[in-house]
Amino acid sequence: MAVEERDAAAARDGAAAAPDIRLENVTKRFDDVTAVDDLSLTIDQGRFFALLGPSGCGKTTTLRMIGGFEEPTSGTILLGDRDVTGLPPYRRDVNTVFQSYALFPHLSIYENVAFGLRRKGVKGDDLKRRVGEALELVDLGDLGRRKPRQLSGGQQQRIALARALVNRPKVLLLDEPLGALDLKLRKQMQLELKGIQNEVGITFVHVTHDQEEAMTMADTIAVMNAGKIEQLGSPADLYERPETAFVAGFLGASNLLPGRLNGEGIVGLDGGGDVRVPASALAGRSGRIAVGIRPEKLRLAAGGAQADGENVLEGVVAERSYIGVSTQYVVETSAGPVTVYAQNAEPGAGQAASPGERVSLAWSPEATFVVDQHEEGTR
């Protein structure tokens, strides 16, 4: 453990924010299908980086190209300063935690973890110690003699992690590593993975289609769609200021109200009425746009009570469903149906407005984002 920590610390101090992985104009085509389309990406040393997107968006192909399991059709892949395009997986300083783990069924847990070290010529006491440390890191020090099939899904997952980390790679690739676990275990493993990444300080690149998983663990997320990166940023960036309708729809729920530019920091809604938005959100936009508001940022008020400077939309409650922590309303407005999540913070809060009642929806201009208008992603 001590050695691992020292290595991690050295890595963090030595190469602060140096790029660890660089993809330059990488394209991958399978027959007629373009899986990854002219993708450029830089991932800094020590990051927990998530590639997030729906299935078929090219995230797994991107990961497999970094790992060396797929050759890019064009473009360059660099690890550190080294061009690894065209190198086989066994000549890259990268290890992978595979979807469904891919533990060797014929080898013991100990031998699974020792596999990479043995190939590198680590022997004797050194081997024993490092395998032991790796098993300790994932809290499974006493399972070395078992076979993979004697372990639960969660344990296999940890062994897969130990088997990769024991080699102290430059980069650890995780291909939907938690997909096969049940919800409760998944939540627990998300926190553990994050903790382990902090501990070892290795760059993690994590592929997932689960936005919550990506937001829990990653410090940087690239949202991918149709082989391209839609938006890259911190979880808060992506959630608070999505730049496209796709990102807004993929990370959480949002209301998108169509409209057009109507002056400095003002959008005129198609259904009538103006909405104030941060001027920065409108930079470089023109023509058909949509104003976005997250359902939990809307405040429901009976009548016309609102603070100065807030955006207001009038409507009639169409539906109300009580979910426990919050109550979910659908309000018919002139701009279309709007979803509102009202926190049930106080007793009786869930009954604030009944279906059929006229209400006004108020929200702060700062909580408003703007996307180009598309048909997709308006859920």
Binding site: G67, G68, F69, P88, P89, Y90, V94, N95, T96, F98, Q99, S100, A102, L103, F104, P105, H106, F115, G116, R119, K120, R149, R163, A164, N167
Partner: protein, 287 residues
Amino acid sequence: MFLHRHPRLIPYLLLLPGILFLVVFFLVPMYYLGFTSLQSGDLFAGYQFTWAWDNYRDAFTLYQSHFVRSLKYAGLATLIAFLISYPLAYWIAFRGGRWKNLLLLLVIAPFFVTYLIRTLAWKTILADQGIVVDALRTLHLVGEDGRLLATTTAVVAGITYNYLPFMALPLYVSLEQIDTRLIEAAEDLYASSVRAFLRVTLPLSLPGIFAGTLLTFIPAIGDFINAELLGTPRQLMIGNVIQSQFKEVADYPQAAALSFVLMAGILVLVLLYARAVGSERATRSAA
């Protein structure tokens, strides 16, 4: 009603047809075979049960060379079939793609023709005036008066050919089941392609190797068609001896004793083999 009160009996009742079948078609014949093997007499005077252990002594002394030859031919044919089948099965399993089923069909295609006809066809192929011998003579791989038919080579080749699918199919099945991500994982963990094969693919295909070699070796060691059609008396195997003792000499007790010795020998060999390969490990890793 009865079964409702005794649910534990259901599995045994389900086994009953199988057990009955084995009793009628395996245990009873085995009993008669054992019984016959200890008889003495001749076809005209009739055979009597006399505890004639001489039959077994003769089996070991008179026919020892046939046993040894059978062992050699079957072992050699199994080895060659393995060396041919493994790359074949590997290629179909991992590179066959959408042609997989067609390729498998081609592997078993010879079975659409009867065993005897296939072997007779080999007789034509290997004939002294046939194209194979001609070609080999042109290449000076065979002397001017050299021949293929009626040689050990022909018999072993015939056995190899006839039992090849029994080797190829189990190998294919075990290779096909291997999750290719395991091979990727090995390469990810710094194993070159060759190392990944030796450390992952080969051990995981062990159940197929075990099944394939047994399915080839066991019928091959008792084979008599290939030696009869493609060989000479110098290539006769133990199967030929049993056949002639039974059909031509009509010495049923001797034929029965030879059969028993052959069966016992195979059983011992299989047990030793299973020990060496570790069939428990082999079958487990398939799961």
